[in-house]
């Protein structure tokens, strides 16, 4: 009964922790490892035109459906223009309007996108397109091409591939040539293919986008072919018929219409530039959480002032140290001075580094012990004696710092980070154990404490551990669950096996 209650609690804690952790990793994309860099891409469209005498209306397609990419932020920069965005066939349009705009006008659209493999293209099923109405000889040529392709294919994708290959042959036959000659550019070719596919009653359209390459000014618009295979939209290379989409392809808009359309102006031009910005994966994840309206980040240590964050990046490690201690004491069977003394020492080691920390700790405790033994002769009452040891510890720390600084060992300065009260208590307890149980026991327990502290330090020093508890404090629920389980662990401690080893050969003796 009690066990079931405990198991339920442990399970609930662990699942809650894992669920929040999973959500933050899988959906919000919080990095599992520290100092991960994620790429974001800034795409800038500079729209320019000469304003005419009357009102001007400039419409620019802006990205909406970007398979493999997600929008982090976008800005529209213009001065004195009315501005709106709306959904249009083929994508989303930004529209700038102004009553009078003399001279050369420049407007900017800037978007920051990041790779998000979970983003899919559109998944709505389109209707079957009407067969295109073409003049002769195009209508007959189309029929021949489509029929030929259909014979050599199994489904709509392979039909489209066959069609594309036919049109792209180095020396096309006359039917293909007929269409080839009217399609000079890649875009026109893709457009033609989608028309032919409509003849085969296959929904297809041209996607236009840019290749995300670093420092691309004047990035070219690359057309791609998108067709619906009855299940989902698939991408085809309009030159080779291969079914793929380059991973750095950012779909911008769809259809035959141009990127920019200006009414009432002339010499319209649009220049696309692409820039890669490596960004701390953490920042990206925060932005993403923000965008999704997730309040998880607001209620995490990341929302605190930086100084407080630094404190918590420290404090959140204490449970990890406590877990190490719990295991070392209750499963292995180590003995230490004070339950959590080793964790605090380990925290201090984080600043001093291990070796220097061990030396400094041993130094202070040994000197403190000497003083404590001397004080014993003076027969002081307990509390003043403890205070005296504490004062001596502080003075010793100061002396070590000054001496180390003089000698140029800057690590000696970090001795100030040792928890002095804990040191004083350790000295007191060690001296009592020394007197009551002998030097051997005292030194053994002291070394045990140092060993445990070092181990806790090593575990708390793993950068991955530091990163995980700080970015995912919910993992502390897992540690809590582990602790609860440990609290019901009634098996042997490993060192007890040694202690009771006389039982091993007992059968033969008695």
């Amino acid at each position: 009964m009690k066990n079931r209650h405990l198991l339920g609690l442990v399970l609930a804690l662990a699942l809650t922790g894992l669920a929040v952790f999973g959500y933050k990793v899988m959906v919000l994309g919080f990095p599992m490892a520290p100092e991960q860099v994620a790429d974001t891409w800034t795409i800038e469209a500079a729209v320019s035109f000469d304003g005419g005498p009357g009102s001007v209306r400039a419409t620019l397609f802006v990205p909406t459906l970007m398979p493999g990419y997600a929008l982090l932020e976008e800005n529209f920069i213009s001065r004195g223009f009315g501005f709106s965005t709306q959904l249009a066939p083929g994508g989303r349009e930004a529209e700038w309007t102004v009553r009078r705009a003399p001279g050369r006008q420049v407007l900017y659209y800037r978007a920051v996108v990041y790779r998000d493999a979970l983003r899919r293209g559109e998944d709505t099923a389109p209707e079957f397109p009407p067969p295109p109405v073409l003049d002769e000889p195009f209508a007959t040529a189309m029929r021949v091409l489509v029929d030929d392709a259909r014979e050599r294919s199994a489904d709509s994708v392979s039909l489209a591939a066959a069609l594309i290959r036919r049109l792209n042959e180095p020396v096309p036959d006359q039917n293909a040539e007929l269409f080839r000659s009217s399609a000079r550019t890649d875009t026109e070719l893709a457009q033609t293919i989608s028309t032919l596919l409509a003849g085969a009653r296959i929904p297809a359209r041209v996607v236009r986008g840019v290749l995300l390459q670093d420092q691309a000014r004047d990035a070219a618009i690359v057309p791609w072919l998108e067709l619906y295979d009855g299940n989902e939209w698939v991408f085809l290379n309009p030159r080779t018929g291969e079914r793929n989409l380059p991973p750095n392809y950012l779909a911008w808009w769809r259809g035959a219409r141009p990127l920019l359309h200006v009414e009432g102006g002339s010499n319209a031009a649009v220049n696309l530039s692409v820039r890669r910005n490596p960004v701390d994966a953490m920042l990206l994840a925060e932005g993403r959480a923000d965008q999704r309206g997730s309040r998880l980040v607001e209620f995490s240590p990341l929302a605190l002032p930086v100084q407080t964050q630094a404190v918590y990046s420290f404090l959140l490690l204490i449970p990890v140290g406590a877990l190490v201690i719990g295991i070392l004491r209750n499963v292995i069977g180590f003995k230490t001075f004070g339950t959590f003394m080793p964790v605090l020492i380990a925290l201090a080691f984080k600043e001093t580094q291990l070796l220097a920390g061990l030396i400094l700790f041993t130094l202070i405790v040994s000197l403190g012990l000497l003083v404590r033994f001397y004080l014993e002769h003076l027969r002081l009452l307990l509390v003043p004696r403890l205070s005296a040891v504490l004062i001596v510890v502080v003075l010793l720390m100061l002396a070590v710092s000054i001496l180390a600084h003089r000698l140029g060992f800057e690590t000696g300065l970090s001795v100030a980070l040792f928890p002095m009260v804990i040191l004083a208590m350790t000295i007191e307890r060690m001296s009592i154990v020394w007197e009551e149980r002998g030097a051997g026991e005292a030194i053994q327990q002291g070394l045990g404490s140092l060993a445990v502290a070092s181990l806790a330090y090593l575990v708390m020093g793993i950068t991955l551990v530091q990163h995980l508890v700080f970015v995912f404090p919910e993992l502390l629920l897992l540690i809590l669950a582990a602790m609860l389980l440990l609290g019901r662990y009634t098996g042997y401690r490993l060192l007890e096996l040694r202690r009771f080893r006389a039982f091993a050969d007992d059968r033969s003796r008695s």
Binding site: L382, Y492, E496, A502
Partner: protein, 320 residues
Amino acid sequence: MMTLWRQLRRQGVLGLNARNGEFILPTNDRRHYPLVDDKLRTKALASQAGMPVPELYGVIETEHDIGRLGVMLEPYETFVIKPAQGSGGDGIIVVVGRTRRRELTFRQVSGALITLADLQHHVSNMLNGQFSLGGHPDRAMVEYCVGFDPVFENISHEGVPDIRVIVYRGVPVMAMVRLPTRQSGGKANLHQGAVGAGVDMPTGRTLSGVIGNEVIDEHPDTGMPIAGIAVPQWDVILASSARAADITGLGYLGVDMVLDRKHGPLMLELNARPGLNIQLANRRGLRLRLEQVDRALAGRGDVTARVAFAREHFAHEPQG
């Protein structure tokens, strides 16, 4: 290692985690702890119940009282000073004589001399909680120094041998005799180097012993065989142990008794978290016996019935 684990498991050896988690936590109500953690309260309780305890000579509660320590000790040649809430025998001073040279000096059982001033400082440390669990302010008690029964004379080195009985749900389940050695400085504490010798529950005869974790057959200082000595008044010891469980309400309890030459078995102190070395001394695991008590629900009977149960079931037989 797993073989060792399984061997211990099969023989019912109780580990610390299991002792705490499976026996102490469920059966020892925390509110009963002060009764055993404070030896003065234990003593009062036992006296009320008519159980023999060492006579209390006096209690020192304040720094001011320390001044009259000399006067308090005046009538007694031998005495023991101990912290009321001490643990593990820490802080106990056994005085067996006095010399008056330049200043009043006492001779301890170990032969070391201690001046009254040193003694007063020691008592002051006791009051300040140096020896108590958690460093709480404490009281010092001065009591009768047991003139121990010569039965263990050959197998102990100075000091007072005592008898530890583990009582579970009112039933004495295991016992050992603790024999001081030179190494333990006259103290009967196993972790200080005393010998622990198991006791056969039905007969009260000693078995072989252990020092630390090592099994021995002879006392290291006297060289005499440890096994085969009949503990006098064994039935009284078992009955008192069973009674002790009743007066404290603790389900899992260690009872420490001494054999006094004049007064017979006296109860020294009780322990709510008795150590596990008794298993080594007896070379038997506690768990099997504890579970036997659980099954029999013997805790319900009166003292005689429970002692009878223990004598019937917990004989030290060769293990099969």
